[in-house]
Every structure is written in structure tokens, then in C-alpha cells.
């Protein structure tokens, strides 16, 4: 940039720069000085030869943080800089002893324009200083960006936020993880899933950068062998990834585990779940009418994400059941669908309420279908109160429910209830269980009013050959 001499960077919208304008004039008269003005090439007033840096390219190249900044170069290398107005420092740097004698000795400077977030992003992109390596897809001159995303098959059916370089760069600021870190191979195409590709899809989903650690953990979780992403995509059944968030991060990013926790209206809930699904669709190619063979699917395949209401519950959170310490930031992914409401306004004791829960669980998929899929029981606050007042903690509820999952085979055998569906007649005289031993997760969420819990049913019984829930610590 500069071989020898001084460079000063200023802006008009800075009282300190205005204050030191006479000093700059002093230096211009005797020194080899280049003046860059960030916001107005006519500032300082009446000074010839001010370099127009309204593009901020020079300021970016000098990595200016504060204006005014005074830099001294020798043999093409920066040897010293000072910022703000500090007469002693300016005199030391310039070798003068007569600068701004009528000015106060010190006045701090102002923030440089090239450090403002939007301008910095623009500069980084223009100068190629971004970690992104994904190819740029050019749009036609009159092409609407949102429509272009539809046209290229990148959408889940709803409008997406166009993934511009600026937005993706900002999204990547939400994680300390490198953009090129590989999270795994995304089924079904088994294409490389990098942090950058997740960030692009998170932009499209409408995420804020602060959601990125949660999105990344959820993606890592669905990529685990245990989750069986390919199988849950290719199945004709209903499921998609249900994402449950635990730990203080849920509140820090504004998630909702209270009223309407499984419903609409919360940006973090809605967009984190959507980002996972868009990543599966776009990176892995898991699209309906393609690899995704679902007969009906379910609305949760657009997004299905919520947090446990940890602070509103006396129970230990789901992460403890999953082998982690309470208070751990973690996501649990579960191949699930829909919500089967469980209403019991009348139960006043755990013994009554557990029968409602158990009977509803045994009815999942088909009352004669044994074993059924893994399930999440989402217990609402009023039902938790009924259980707690009766002295039942979550472990007790879990045990009592599992005991009630076992029934005589004859009661659910083919032909029972007039249905062809049912367990094999070869099991006559034996018992069968609706759930495998690991098949029930219990989560506390929901609003304070209403005795309305719910069951999120899964894919199949959670065996090593099938899909099992996966919990991943969120790296913050």
C-alpha cells in the first residue's frame, strides 16, 4: 500500500477527526502523508489530495478499527500505528513536537465504518476473505431470488430465505466451528455435509446465527448410525426428525417449551427443525417422490422442534435419562410424527392417570399392533402436578407405564376386535409388550392450563436394526 511515510484514516462523522483536522493539515505541509476519508472525500475541509475511501477498501486493507488512525510505513511495512487523538503518541510516531498544541492532549476516536457488520461482510466478500467454498448459482437479471429457490428445488414447499453470501457469512459467525468441518455423509446421496452447507440451509430455514450450535448438533445426531436417516427417509411410514432441546441454551436462544410448545409461533423452534429438514433434503437429496417414500408423511416434516420446560418442572430433564448431567446443552433426535393427544381431566391420582397414559400408548398405530413403535410421552404441567402430588417421580411413572405395556397375546391377536391386524396366533399363551425396553422417552412441556398431554409416536420398535433416539451435546 505505502512504501514510506504516513497514512491517516478519518471520517467526517467523528468529532475527534474533526478536532484533529488542523493537525492533519500540519502534517500534510511537511510529511509524506496520505489521507483516507471513509465517508466524505471533501473532508477534511479545504484539504487537497484526500483519497476517497468511501468504498472502504483501503480501510479494510489497513484493518482500521478506530478513526482517526495514524500509521507509519517504512520500506513498505507498517512499523507503528496509533488511534484516536493522543498528542504524545502522534508526536512520537511523526517525530514532531508541535502537533495540535492548542488541542486537548487526548480524545478517543470513533468506530471505523469498515467494522460495521454489514459493511464488513460486504468487504470480506469483495476481497474474497470468506471461508465459503460452495459454488455460486447465478440468478437471471429479472429472476426473483425466492422464486429461484423454488425453481431449483431447494424449498420444502414454503418460501425460503435466499442464501446470499452475506447471510451465510453471518450464519457462520454463529459457530466457532470451521466452515469446512465435515459433520458426516448425508444420506441418501451420501454427500459431504459440512458446517458451511448446514449454514446455507439454516439461512434458508430462517435461523438466526445463534441457533447454529443447536442446528449443528441436531444434524450430527441424525447422521449417527443409530438414527438411521436413510431408513427413516425411504420408509413409507410417517416419520421425520423430531428435535428436542435441553439445557440453558434453549432459553438463551428464545425457544419455547411452554404453551404451544409443539405448535407455531416461535422462531427458534420453527426454524431449527426446518433447517434440519432442509439440510436432509438439499444436502442428502431426501425429497418426497424421490428417496422419501412416505405414504402420507406428516406436517412435522416441515419442522418439528421444541425444548423441554426444564425450569417449570420438578422432574429431571430428558438429558439425565439419556446419560448426561442435568443442565447439559444437548439435542435429542427421534424419528417421530404427529401428536396423539392424551386427555384426562378427571384423574386426581397417579394410579388413575397412569392408566390413561398406558391405554393411550398401547393404542398407538393400532390397538392390536404389538410391539409398536418407540414413543415419546410429552407430559403437560397439570398432569405432572397430579403425579408429583401423588408422590410419583418420572422414574416411577416410567416403570409403571412399562409394566402396563405387557398384555396377554390373545388380547391383541389377529382377529381380536374384529381386526385382521394383530400378533401372531403362534404366541397364544404368551405375553407381548407394546414397547421394547428402551422404547419410551418422557418429556415435560406445555402450558400451565389444561390436562392435555401427548404421545409422539415413532417409526418402529427401536432396535439396532431400526432407528433409535440419539442425543448429542451442543458444542457452544
Amino acid at each position: 500500500m505505502q512504501e514510506n511515510g504516513l497514512v491517516v484514516v478519518v471520517k467526517r462523522d467523528c468529532p475527534t477527526c474533526v478536532l484533529v483536522a488542523p493537525v492533519i493539515q500540519q502534517l500534510l505541509e511537511q510529511a509524506d502523508l496520505t489521507v483516507y476519508s471513509q465517508d466524505d472525500p471533501n473532508f477534511p475541509d479545504g484539504m487537497d489530495g484526500v483519497a476517497d475511501d468511501t468504498t472502504l477498501d483501503a480501510s479494510y486493507g489497513l484493518d482500521i478499527e478506530i478513526v482517526p488512525t495514524l500509521v507509519r510505513f517504512e520500506n513498505g511495512r507498517e512499523v507503528e500505528r496509533t488511534y484516536g487523538w493522543d498528542r504524545a503518541a502522534w508526536e512520537h510516531l511523526t517525530g514532531r513536537d508541535d502537533l495540535g498544541t492548542d488541542l486537548p492532549a487526548f480524545k478517543p476516536g470513533c468506530g471505523a465504518l469498515n467494522q460495521e457488520q454489514d459493511r464488513l461482510a460486504e468487504l470480506r466478500i469483495r476481497h474474497g476473505d470468506t471461508p465459503m467454498v460452495s459454488r455460486l448459482v447465478p440468478l437471471g437479471a429479472k429472476e426473483d431470488a425466492i422464486e429461484a429457490c423454488f425453481e431449483r428445488g431447494w424449498s420444502d414447499g414454503l418460501p425460503v430465505v435466499p442464501p446470499t453470501q452475506e447471510r451465510v457469512l453471518a450464519m457462520l459467525e454463529g459457530t466457532t466451528r470451521a466452515a469446512d468441518e465435515v459433520l458426516g455423509l448425508m444420506p441418501s446421496n451420501l454427500d459431504t455435509c459440512t458446517v458451511e452447507k448446514v449454514a446455507i440451509n439454516a439461512v434458508m430455514a430462517g435461523c438466526k446465527p445463534e441457533y447454529m450450535p443447536v442446528v449443528l448438533a441436531a444434524i450430527e445426531a441424525v447422521l449417527e448410525e443409530d438414527y438411521c436417516l436413510h431408513g427413516t427417509l425411504a420408509t413409507t411410514r410417517f416419520v421425520g426428525p423430531v428435535v428436542i432441546v435441553n439445557g440453558p441454551i434453549a432459553q438463551q436462544i428464545g425457544m419455547n417449551g411452554k404453551g404451544n410448545a409443539l405448535g407455531q409461533g416461535n422462531r427458534a423452534n420453527a426454524t431449527i427443525g426446518r433447517a434440519v429438514q432442509l439440510a436432509v433434503r438439499n444436502i442428502g437429496g431426501g425429497k418426497p417422490q424421490g428417496v422419501d417414500r412416505a405414504t402420507l408423511g406428516n406436517p412435522g416434516k416441515l419442522t418439528y422442534c421444541f425444548c423441554e420446560d426444564e425450569e417449570g418442572s420438578a422432574w429431571e430433564p430428558l438429558v439425565v435419562d439419556r446419560g448426561l448431567a442435568a443442565g447439559t446443552n444437548a439435542v435429542t433426535v427421534f424419528a417421530g410424527f404427529g401428536l396423539q393427544g392424551v386427555i384426562d381431566d378427571k384423574a386426581r391420582s397417579p394410579e388413575e392417570l397412569v392408566e390413561t397414559f398406558a391405554t393411550s400408548l398401547r393404542a398407538v398405530d393400532n390397538v392390536n399392533k404389538f410391539p409398536g413403535p418407540d414413543c415419546i410421552l410429552v407430559v403437560c404441567p397439570e398432569h405432572e402436578n397430579t403425579l408429583m402430588e401423588g408422590g410419583w417421580d418420572k422414574a416411577r411413572l416410567h416403570k409403571e407405564l412399562m409394566d402396563r405395556m405387557v398384555v396377554p397375546a390373545e388380547s391383541v391377536m389377529r382377529g381380536t376386535h374384529g381386526m385382521a391386524e394383530g400378533v401372531s396366533t403362534k404366541l397364544a399363551g404368551k405375553t407381548v409388550s407394546k414397547l421394547v425396553p428402551t422404547g419410551l422417552l418422557i418429556v415435560r412441556a406445555g402450558g400451565g392450563a389444561g390436562k392435555f398431554s401427548g404421545i409422539i409416536a415413532g417409526w418402529t420398535p427401536g432396535t439396532p436394526e431400526s432407528s433409535r433416539p440419539v442425543t448429542k451435546i451442543i458444542k457452544t
Binding site: R135, L139, A145, P163, Q165, M204, I283
Partner: protein, 93 residues
């Protein structure tokens, strides 16, 4: 914010630019649409084209935009997409 290009969210298996559909090597067995956009005397020219195509035993369907000044109504667009394989239209006077 630059909206002239977007970062590809996919595994990048498909070309970034979408190629135009390949032109058929023959009209044999295809249905040809003739779209009169209501340009002056376009109907004369296009009717000659249509009859020449029909003389070769090729099926032709005729469409007409109500006005040259506006894009084709949705119903005409959809009919063309559904009913024909290729389209001929006259763009100039």
C-alpha cells in the same frame, strides 16, 4: 446484499446453470403449438406455418394471446404446457 447469485445449498450434483430443453430432431409424432401473440399480421404468417406443418401430417394446435402488450393469461400458458410438445410463435411485425 447481493442477490445476483446464491450459495448452493445442495451436494452440488446437478449443474448450476439449467440447460434449455434439447430441440427435437424430428416433429414426427409430436404436437406443435402455434401461438399468435397478436402482433400485426402475425396471424397470417403463423397460419401459413401451421398449414405447412399440417401438410406433413403433424398435429397442430392454435393459441392466441388477447394482446401483444401483456404476458399470456395463465389458462393459455397452462394449456400450452399440457397440450403440445413444441411451440412456434411470431415475435415481430
Amino acid at each position: 446484499m447481493s442477490l445476483d447469485s446464491l450459495l448452493d445449498p445442495t451436494g452440488e450434483r446437478e449443474a448450476a446453470a439449467r440447460p434449455r430443453l434439447a430441440r427435437p430432431t424430428s416433429l414426427e409424432g409430436l404436437t406443435v403449438g402455434v401461438l399468435d401473440i397478436s402482433k400485426v399480421r402475425g396471424d397470417v404468417f403463423l397460419e401459413k406455418v401451421a398449414s405447412l406443418i399440417e401438410d406433413r401430417g403433424i398435429n397442430v394446435k392454435r393459441y392466441r394471446k388477447p394482446t401483444v402488450a401483456r404476458t399470456a393469461p395463465m389458462a393459455i400458458q397452462q394449456a400450452i404446457v399440457e397440450e403440445v410438445d413444441v411451440v412456434v410463435e411470431g415475435l415481430a411485425d
